[in-house]
Structures are given as C-alpha cells and as structure tokens.
C-alpha cells in the first residue's frame, strides 16, 4: 500500500469522471494536434505553391548598362553586356548542393526584333520551364511545338491584328486581373502567321492580358531567338523558382553566387516575404486556436477537480486524521492528475493525428501527407500534463488545506 495505490484505486472507482477528464483533455490536445499537423502540412503546401508561383530568384549578368526592364527586374541591355550569361550558366545552377530545392530554372534571352514591321521585345525561352513558372498566364491557342512557333503578348497581338474580340464582347472587356482560372479568352486568333525579322513564324497562341510586360512581348524558343539575334548560347536572364521548405532562399542564392561568380544573383524579396508572411499567419492562427481550446480544456479540468475535492472532503479528512500530511494529499491527487493528463495527451495525440489525416484531403492537394512526428507526440503529452497540473494546482492545494476535524464532521 502506497499513496499511488490509493490514487490508482480511486481512478478505477471513478471511471466515469476519469473518462470525462481524459476526454476533455483529449479533445483539447486532439484539436491542438490536428490544427498543428494540418497547419504544418498546409504551411508546406502554401510555401511550396508560393515557391512555384513565379520566380523568387533572378540571375542577371554583371553589367553597367540597364537598358531594358523585365517583370520589375532590371535586365542588362542587349548591346552593352560586359559579362554575358550562357546556356552553361543555366546548367550550372542545376549543379548547386540545393539543386533538389529548385522547382524551375527558366533561362531567357531578350532582344528587340521587328514583328510585322514594329520594333518589339522578343524573349527566347524554354517553353516547358516558362509555362510552369508563369502559371497565371491564360493561353489562347496552344503551347509552341516547333522552333518557329511563337506566343504573342496581348498588346502585340492586337497591334499586328492577330486577334479580334468575339462577337458581343469588346477587347476592353478583357481587363480583369490575371488569375489562374481557365476562363476562356474573350477574343479569337484571326491570324496564323507573323513576320519576325525576315522570317515567317506561326502564331501558336496569344497570352491573355496580364497587365505586365508580357503584353508587349513575343516569346519564341530560346535556341531560335539566339539564332535570330545572332547570339548563340547567350542568355540575358535566368529566373529560378526555389522550393524553400526547411531552407532560407538566401542559402540557395549564396550557392548560385558561388557557382556563377560572374553573375548578379538576387532573391525577389517581395515573394520571399509574402511566403514567410502567409506561413506565419497560418502558424499564428493555429497557435491561437490551439491555445483557446486548451484553455477551455484547462477550465474543464479545474472545475472537475474543484468538484472532486468537494466530493472527496470526507475522504481527504479521514486521510488527514489517520496521519497523512498535506504533501501526501497533494501527492495522491497529483498522481491522479498526471495519469489522467498523460492519458488525455496520448488519446488527444492519436485523435488529433487521425482527425488531421481525415481532414487533410479537404484542405490540400492530393499527395500532401501528415508526418508522424515523435516530437509532436512528446509535445502533446507534455502540454496535456502541464495543462492538467496547472489547472489542478489550486483545487489540490485547497484539498490539502481542508481542516481534518471539519472534514470528518462534514458527513
């Protein structure tokens, strides 16, 4: 017979109350675990989606001339580059230690050409990479297939009369903000070919209005543009989309700088900060909701323990009368609280894990997974015990201070 024997026997006797307490703590912990697990997965998903949505690193050549502007990023002038980027640099980026974090590497050569007699900015791109990077592009037509296939920006297409509005719509009606939806364009392509330089090219598609520089550009295969501009193997800019899970984008920038010492490598701070902010907000939301649910759980433990102390006044009085110290009473009650809290923590962790696994498909794309983290289990049990102990301190101390003569007379 030890104090723990009494605690265990008491728990066995008061199964209903113990179950109620375990459930209460379990719900609190389960909610917290589910939210934290979900937010962890969502955090990765959001981060990864934001990483894929446009470039977050831009590589440009060292240059004294900043003649052209592309996407808010200054690009070296075509004619005055002191250090050119090349196809080899694009391959070099793929050799950095964090290469697995690189989602898209999109090299470009920029230059000016005559399109149906109009001076126009042309971009030689790798379409497979470019279309993955520019997910907000709404393409009318199809992706280019051959070397002489081109994509026209909206303004260029209008200027060369390659498109006309559908009957009943006007070109101006298509000024909605760019987005990913697959809404059909409100124009149709009316021209099949366009003359770039002195050569005929097939118009594969027209990019819906974006409000960006793309509207005033023509896109063609990189190698073809390199030939067209007489700059074989040269690049003007390389856009990189990095997946920044578990690594700061600055680390990737540093590695690219090391690989390409002759280039300017910079993180687009706007996108990096937007990602961090979105992820932080989600984390804060999860923490606040978890804290509220845990506080409710703690309040429930507190009221239950208070009622248990009142209910057990006689028992505590008898124990005090037969020689139990206050500390013995505290010890006995705390053993019960710790057992209940630990059980609540385990139940909550399991329930939270199950709930998050069931709920995950409703919040994320297929393929996202809830990780089975030992640290989360330890955290859940520790928080459950802390919640149980903290919310029981007052009732337990109150119980230990019961006047034994009053308590025995109480019944």
């Amino acid at each position: 017979m030890r104090i723990s024997t009494i605690a265990f026997a008491n728990l066995r006797r008061r199964k209903g109350k113990a179950f109620f307490l375990v459930s209460g703590i379990g719900i609190g912990i389960g909610t917290a675990v589910a939210l934290l697990s979900l937010s962890g997965s969502l955090r990765e998903e959001i981060g990864s989606q934001m990483d894929r949505f446009g470039a977050n690193i831009v590589v440009t050549p060292h240059s004294d001339s900043l003649a052209l502007d592309y996407g808010g990023v200054s690009v070296a002038g075509v004619s005055f580059d002191q250090h050119q980027l090349s196809n080899e640099d694009s391959a070099g980026i793929r050799r950095i230690p964090y290469r697995k974090r690189l989602s898209v590497v999109a090299p470009k050569l920029l230059g000016t050409v005559d399109v149906d007699g109009r001076r126009t900015l042309v971009a030689g791109v790798d379409f497979a990479s470019e279309l993955r990077l520019k997910k907000w592009w709404r393409l009318a037509g199809r992706a280019p297939e051959s070397a002489t296939d081109v994509l026209l920006g909206y303004d260029v297409a209008r200027a060369v009369s390659a498109i006309e509005p559908f009957p009943g719509t006007s070109a101006d009606a298509d000024k909605s903000p760019a987005h990913h939806s697959a809404a059909p364009e409100k124009f149709r392509i009316t021209k099949e070919r366009v003359t770039i330089g002195s050569r005929e090219h097939r118009i594969a598609g027209v990019i819906g209005q974006t409000g960006g520089p793309e509207d005033r550009m023509v896109f063609a295969q990189l190698s073809h543009v390199q030939d067209l501009l007489g700059r074989p193997g040269q690049l003007s800019v390389i856009e990189v989309s990095a997946l920044c899970k578990d690594c700061p984008v600055e680390d990737i920038v540093t590695q690219i700088r090391k690989e390409l010492p002759h280039a300017n490598v910079s993180a687009i701070q706007q996108s990096v900060r937007a990602r961090a902010e979105a992820v932080d907000r989600l984390s804060r939301f999860s923490l606040v909701v978890s804290a509220v649910v845990l506080a409710i759980g703690a309040l429930m433990v507190f009221t239950t323990m208070m009622s248990a102390v009142v209910e057990r006044t006689k028992e505590i009085g008898v124990l005090r009368a037969i020689g139990f110290r206050r500390t013995h009473i505290i010890k006995g009650l705390m053993i019960e609280v710790v057992i209940i809290s630990a059980a609540g923590g385990i139940v909550g962790w399991l329930a939270g894990l199950l709930a998050s696994r069931l709920a995950l498909p409703y919040f994320t794309e297929a393929g996202a997974q809830i990780e089975l983290r030992v640290s989360l289990a330890v955290f859940a049990i520790a928080i459950a015990m802390l919640t149980g102990i903290v919310s029981s301190v007052y009732p337990v101390i109150r119980a230990s201070r019961l006047d034994p003569s009053e308590a025995v007379r109480y019944v």
Partner: protein, 241 residues
C-alpha cells in the same frame, strides 16, 4: 505521569460573519492513564466531538495544552502533528469512513501508506490486526461486501494498523443495531484487556458502563463523576475482558 494530559483546554468557535465566539469547551482538564478505557458521555452539543478532535490532534484548542506521552501536541507544526497522528493515534469513526474503493486489507493498510515500511511488512501487520478483529478470512472483501458489524470491526482494525498507543472512538456503535453494537464493544473490550488505551465518546450508558472510567461533559465543562465506574459488564468480570 498520565499518558494523556488535557490541561485547561477551552475551545471557542467563531460563527461565520460574527465576531462573537461560541464557547464549546470551558477549561477542561483531565488525564488518561496508559491502558485505560475511558468513556465520554454528554448530551448533544455538549462538546464531546470537539474534545475528541482536540485529543485527536486535529483541532487546535483556543486555550490550554494537550500533552500525550510527554509531547505538547499543539506546539507541533501542522505537518509534524500529522506525523504524530500517524504514530500515536488510531481513529474509529461513527460512520466508519471506510474507503469504498479499497478492499478490507487495503483499508487496514491505509494508515501505513505513508510509513517507510516494506510492502510485505505492511501486509503482515494488516493481516495481524484483521486476525485480531476476526476478519482475516475476509481480507479481500470490499467494504460493501461486509455486514455492518464487520465494517465496524474493519474500522477498528484500520485504527490499530499503525499500532497506536491511543485509540479514539467516536460513537462507534451509534448507528448500529444492538447485536452489531455489542460485537464492536466486544472487540474494544478485548483490546482494552490487552492494555490498549482507549478513549470513546458514546451516548449509550450500557456501553459506557463497560469502560474503566466515565467522564460526563455538559455545556462544555466536565462534571464531577462519582469516581471510577466500577460496574464493568459480566463479560469483563468473567475474565474475558
């Protein structure tokens, strides 16, 4: 020197919200010798239970001293007094106050739970006292599986588990029928005959008559009694007590 010395003890309870105290005990002095069986009688509200809880080191008197085995009980700290209760006192409550979730032997071992004894020693002692009260064969029964008399005997066994020099009993037969009450008294008289010091509060004159001495409390004061009550029962005289 008496084993228990109550020296000029007074107790006044303060009514909640009132500054006027209600005197319950007034300048009570008495002594209990080692091995004595003393009964305390008196009408309801006379202060019997208060005196018992003061003797039980649970209720600080407003004035006076309680000395047991040379120890000034209320000079001890609260925790030391708890240790004193564990070492010196055994309680038999009117309602028995057995723990319904512990079986008979566990109930008996309860006062031993805080003592630094080996589990086997605790069990040995518990079985020994269960033997004394005739419940050794029912050690595994839960309290609700025992009759009223057996529950009373189990409560006495619990009071004896720590081998206390002084057993305090608060109307142990008060709620029992005559036959069961007699059963309890028989156990107490057996203990008394073996030299156990017992102080018992009772309303029952027949039970009081079995004690070595009867004290009478009225309005918080001990009344002079005609001396030691000699009339012990036939049971005692016959040499069994």
């Amino acid at each position: 020197m008496a084993f228990v010395a109550v020296e000029n003890i007074s107790k006044t309870y303060n009514d909640q919200g009132s500054r006027i105290g209600v005197p319950v005990l007034r300048d009570v002095s008495m002594e209990i010798g080692e091995g004595e069986f003393v009964c305390l009688m008196g009408p309801s509200g006379s202060g019997k239970s208060t005196l018992l809880t003061i003797l039980g080191a649970m209720n600080h008197p407003s004035q006076g001293r309680l000395v047991i085995d040379g120890i000034d009980v209320y000079a001890l700290s609260d925790e030391r007094r708890a240790d004193f209760r564990a070492q010196y006192l055994g309680f038999v409550f009117q309602q028995h106050h057995l723990m319904p979730y512990l079986n008979a032997i566990e109930n008996v071992m309860l006062p031993l739970a805080t003592l630094p004894l080996a589990a086997i020693e605790k069990r040995r002692r518990a079985l020994e006292v269960l033997e004394k009260v005739g419940l050794a064969k029912k050690w595994s029964r839960m309290p609700n599986q025992l009759s009223g008399g057996e529950q009373g005997r189990l409560a006495i066994a619990r009071a004896l588990a720590n081998e206390p020099p002084l057993v305090l009993a608060d109307e142990p037969t008060g709620t029992l029928d005559t036959k069961t009450g007699d059963e309890i008294m028989k156990v107490l008289l057996d203990l008394s005959a073996r030299g156990q010091t017992i102080f018992m509060v009772t309303h029952n004159p027949a039970n009081a008559a079995l004690a070595h001495r009867v004290l009478y409390l009225r309005d918080g004061e001990l009344e002079p009694t005609p001396g030691v009550v000699e009339a012990r029962s036939e049971y005692c005289r016959s040499g069994q007590g």
